[in-house]
Amino acid sequence: MFERFTELAKRAVVGAQDAALSMGHDFIGTGHLLLGLAQTAGPAGEALREHRVELRQAREQTAQALQEAGIAATGGQPAKDALASIGIDVAEIQRRADDTFGPGVFRFPRPRFTPRATKTLQLTLREATALGHQQIDTGHLLLGLLAEGDGVGVKVLHTLDVDTGALRETVLNRMTRQA
């Protein structure tokens, strides 16, 4: 499905991964997707800014929501420890891979989409189909996030007093204006 993503939509997903990594999470959840959208240009970022969603605050609220849900920001240490217990030194693999392929090519554990984030991506596709759009842009991603409705991303929006129904209207307006 990513082959149908616009450059901005891809950038938002990469931004979500970067947010996850920098926060010490080994997964990409709906909260990280929201952060990726908030920091990227395009209809989603514009709509979020119009509703006064500020990146720094959204980041704090995402970290807090995950912490409250009992999800630790471990930077993947448990997975590394588990491998150490069977004699595999991930730090050594990292060192050799960095030497051979360049820094950052090998990444362990590479963050993966949570089930809710995967659902969000499926709903994103559905939003694009419903609008008759071939390309998937940031606006569709935000619509998908809102449609999923139950993840950390939407929880953060509620905490920031965002009217999600109104946000949906705003992003739809911006998308049709653009088209």
């Binding site: 082959e3 588990a82 491998l83 069977i86 030194d89 730090a91 090998f106 362990f108």
Partner: protein, 80 residues
């Protein structure tokens, strides 16, 4: 760097009776395998290997290796 565990220690760890520990290691290992495959497939493609050559080396079908990696490489701009 941590000291290399003695073979006896290692055997003890691998055969630890706690299923939670053993299963956690299996999951982490699977994830490490995925990452290593990704790194080495990218390296092979960058060095001009065909999908068929990569599939043969990995002992899987060309179709499965292509499905798994070609779209990802296109999406991340590593390949046209």
């Amino acid at each position: 760097m941590s000291a290399e565990p003695l073979p006896a220690d290692l055997v003890g760890q691998i055969t630890n009776k706690d299923p939670a520990l053993g299963l956690q290691a299996v999951v982490a290992l699977r994830r490490l395998l995925e990452e290593l495959e990704r790194v080495h497939v990218d390296n092979a493609r960058d060095q001009g290997w065909t999908w068929q050559n990569i599939a043969t080396a990995l002992q899987v079908s060309r179709q499965s290796v292509h499905e798994k990696h070609a779209t990802r490489r296109k999406t991340t701009g590593k390949e046209d």
